[in-house]
């Protein structure tokens, strides 16, 4: 029995080093070598400055930007503190928050659900194509662009299902807004 305790200690030390140090470092090394961009979070830079990650959403509240989903990460899209709302379906807090968002977002017709519900991570970079298209008239009006142009931009930014099968169609809000700014700058 005592022998097993000794073995347990030795085993923990040896495999601890192997699995807790060697393994992650080896993976880090290979990953940095093979997939340097992905391994560091697909960071977007502008003038040498990091302006976000393609994978992480950002808060947009201005009327001239496409809005992402409500976020419960920190003060909103805080990628140092990911979180969902964790409010249940009968929670008054949830329903009040949703109805407030509905008031903000409402244009023509009912608001697409993902635009007024918080994601699980609070960092969801995407909205549904429906939610993006829903905002087109507002953007066009605010930016004084034709809604056809804005809609074309949105449609160009729809990521289809992976391999045509997996996941859901979606629009990356940060990329869409950056493209929107880019388009406005060019004009």
């Amino acid at each position: 029995m005592k022998k097993h305790i000794v073995t347990a200690v030795l085993y923990t030390v040896v495999t601890g080093v192997l699995l807790g140090i060697v393994y992650p470092l080896a993976i880090t090394g290979v990953a940095q070598l093979l997939f340097p961009k992905q391994a560091d979070g697909e960071l977007l830079t502008k003038n040498g400055e990091v302006i976000g990650s393609r994978l992480i959403g950002q808060t947009f509240t201005g009327a001239s930007y496409f809005h992402g989903r409500p976020s419960n990460a920190g003060t909103g899209y805080d990628a140092g503190s990911s979180s969902g709302s964790n409010l249940g379906p009968t929670s008054k807090a949830l329903i009040d928050r949703v109805q407030a968002s509905v008031t903000t977002e409402q244009a023509n017709g009912a608001v697409p659900v993902d635009l007024v519900t918080a994601s699980g991570s609070g960092l969801d970079p995407d909205i549904s194509p429906a939610a993006a298209l829903y905002q087109v008239p507002r953007i066009a009006e605010q930016r004084k662009m034709s809604s056809q142009m804005v809609e074309a931009l949105v449609r160009g930014h729809i990521t289809q299902r992976q391999f045509g099968l997996l996941g859901e169609p979606r629009v990356n809000v940060l990329e869409l807004n950056l493209a929107l700014d880019e388009m406005a700058r060019k004009e």
């Binding site: 029995m1 022998k3 097993h4 000794v6 073995t7 347990a8 085993y11 923990t12 601890g16 807790g20 140090i21 992650p24 080896a26 993976i27 290979v30 990953a31 997939f35 992905q38 391994a39 560091d40 697909e42 502008k46 990091v50 976000g52 990650s53 992480i56 950002q58 909103g76 899209y77 990628a79 140092g80 503190s81 990911s82 979180s83 969902g84 709302s85 964790n86 409010l87 379906p89 009968t90 929670s91 329903i95 949703v98 109805q99 509905v102 659900v113 993902d114 994601s119 699980g120 609070g122 549904s128 429906a130 298209l133 992976q162 099968l165 997996l166 996941g167 859901e168 979606r170 807004n177």
Partner: protein
């Protein structure tokens, strides 16, 4: 529900069923020490020397066979030592390297809860990882447990299967050998490949400090200060947490551990960036458990029995997935002016707590899979599920997470149910109940009942105490009314069942919950292992009655139906009252327009 959703779900289960056989064959060649023609694996040339070196360094005699008591002791000694290590690393992380955010040592109750949580394969997280754990703690304190606890589970399952397969034997194998082979041959190689695949899709893997991105649109936040006045602050940067995520993510899923590198777990874009990573993560949860059923069939010499068990699991998986997908596709009747219908341009349904890239189908499937197994990783927030949708993961856990189940733990949990099912129905064929030629007698029934008892004792007992404590128990809950009850029930179910997922809104990081949940996790793992191994030890010593027309059939569809019925009825009878006050009542109240 959509056609595309069902296509994805069908593809998932088809791949699992396809992979079960090769995985099972591989597991058999890794673990079947009794087979005279033990097959070698193609990894032997690489891993053989490492294995032998490991035994030499740690003083393991690989030929030594252990009785169940010794096996249990070795397992327990190992678990205890690793638990202490993690507790130490957490407490001392402030003085240790790879602490880019200069995080202080973890508070003692949180540290203990976490150490138990990861040792027991639960990965319940009462803390926010990004702001609590250093990279070293994540790697050495937590990810190691993802290997160890999964390898322990595998070893235990293999020992149980040997108990069934062996005849008139006193021993179940050697714990250290089983632990080593499971780690080296199964967990490490798959994790390496899986981790790199994840990185290629965008799962981060680095040791850099958190990034600070300059926001495209700076935000003005208005908060109410302590003096009641509104304070405006302008936020111009976004903190982006980094870390060695992929290496941990791979084993977190493969070992059905489920502890997220980040707070949002597999909903976090850095843990699970694309539908493909999501799909692979779900596959990796079921991969080993599905293979284990095939290994069971092979090792006991009745491949059909393995398939019958797998069939039972598949049926239960399907029911859970269907129910969850259906429920989550429903609109929340309390929301007005919100378009919740599925269409070509959006998933619709209950999107609170879900990611757009996964939509309803992949969130529901993930929830079913992660709780069928004792994984507990989440790609959507179960707390925000519809009442019936959230009931599915809860019921999955309450049934004992035996549908595919955790690595190892799922199989031995299922086999305890098999013993009970065989005992109840076995009498009906007019023979002393027999399982694969082994008579099920008083001692086996006693241990099986003990195993089944511990579960409701811990879950219902603690939950009942918690809801009776207004301050410590109830006030920290994020939701009121029946949903609050569901949160408490889910928490203790998750802890006892070593799942680790949560109705996560509540502040579980309190003394009461850290300690009581820690207790539930600890006893939910080890108190159930003891009777389970006792059954295995007892079965190993028995003769095997040769099969005949009078033998209770454990290979037929009828057996599968019986097994499913026993699992559902035992589970339903135990937990129906409290569930009727939780999710069922909440569902009825929701549709009657109530809010809390």
């Amino acid at each position: 529900m959509s056609l595309n959703g069902w296509l994805q779900i069908s593809l998932f289960i088809a791949l699992i069923l396809l992979l079960a056989k090769p995985m099972g064959s591989y597991l058999t060649s890794v673990f079947d020490v009794d087979s005279k023609t033990r097959r070698r694996t193609w990894l032997d040339p690489v891993l053989g020397p490492i294995e032998r070196l490991l035994y030499r360094l740690t003083g393991v005699d690989r030929e030594h066979e252990m009785r169940w008591t010794e096996y249990a002791f070795a397992m327990f000694a190992f678990s205890a030592v690793t638990l202490v290590l993690t507790y130490g690393v957490e407490r001392l992380q402030g003085f240790l390297p790879w602490n880019t955010q200069h995080l202080p040592g973890v508070a003692s109750d949180t540290a203990l809860n976490t150490a138990i949580s990861f040792t027991t394969n639960t990965n319940w997280q009462s803390y926010v990882p990004e702001t609590t754990m250093s990279y070293l703690t994540q790697m050495l304190g937590l990810a190691t447990h993802n290997f160890w606890s999964a390898a322990v589970g595998l070893a235990l399952a293999v020992a149980f299967v040997r108990g069934i397969a062996r005849r008139e034997s006193k021993t179940l194998g050697n714990f250290w050998v089983d632990l080593t082979r499971g780690t080296l041959w199964i967990l490490v190689p798959i994790s390496v490949v899986f981790a790199l695949a994840l990185v290629s899709q965008g799962v981060v893997q680095n040791l850099r400090p958190y990034d600070h991105a300059k926001l495209v649109e700076p935000q003005t936040l208005t908060t109410t200060g302590a003096d009641g006045k509104s304070v405006s602050t302008t936020v111009t940067t976004q903190t982006i947490a980094q870390g060695p995520v992929a290496s941990q993510e791979a084993i977190k899923m493969l070992g059905t551990n489920g502890g997220g590198f980040f707070n949002a777990n597999s909903a976090h874009p850095f843990e699970n960036p694309t539908p493909l990573t999501n799909f692979l993560q779900m596959l990796s949860i079921f991969l080993i458990p599905a293979g284990l059923t095939v290994m069971l069939g092979k090792m006991v010499g009745s491949p059909k029995h393995g398939w019958a068990v797998l069939a039972a699991m598949t049926i239960l998986w399907f029911v859970a997935t269907f129910a969850c997908y259906w429920a989550e596709s429903q609109a929340n009747p309390l929301m007005h002016n919100v378009d919740q219908r599925a269409s070509l341009t959006m998933a619709g349904g209950n999107m609170e707590g879900k990611e757009v890239r996964f939509g309803i189908a992949n969130s529901a499937l993930f929830a079913a899979v992660t709780t069928d197994a004792s994984c507990g990783a989440v790609n959507s927030m179960h707390d925000s599920f519809t009442p019936l949708g959230g009931m599915v993961p809860m019921v999955n856990i309450l049934l004992g997470e035996i549908v595919f189940g955790g690595v190892g733990a799922g199989l031995y949990g299922m086999l305890v149910f098999v013993v009970v099912a065989v005992f109840i129905a076995g009498l009906m064929v007019g023979r002393t109940p027999e399982y694969l030629g082994k008579k099920i007698e008083a001692y086996d029934v006693q241990m099986a009942m003990l195993y089944l008892l511990i579960f409701p004792l811990l879950i219902l007992g603690f939950a009942a105490v918690a809801v009776m404590m207004p301050t410590n128990g109830v006030s920290v809950l994020a939701n009121k009314g029946p949903h609050g009850l569901s949160e408490v029930l889910y928490a203790y179910a998750s802890a006892t069942g070593n799942n680790g997922s949560a109705f996560a809104g509540s502040n579980w990081n309190t003394h009461w919950y850290n300690y009581s949940l820690g207790f539930a996790m600890f006893f939910g793992r080890f108190m159930m292992i003891v009777p389970m191994l006792a059954i295995a030890g007892n079965l190993a010593g028995k003769k095997i009655v040769p099969e005949s027309a009078g033998t209770f059939p454990v290979t037929t569809p009828l057996f599968t139906v019986l097994l499913v019925s026993v699992i559902v009825i035992v589970g339903a009878l135990t937990f129906f009252p409290v569930i009727s006050l939780g999710p069922i009542l909440e569902h009825l109240l929701l549709h009657a327009g109530h809010m809390f």
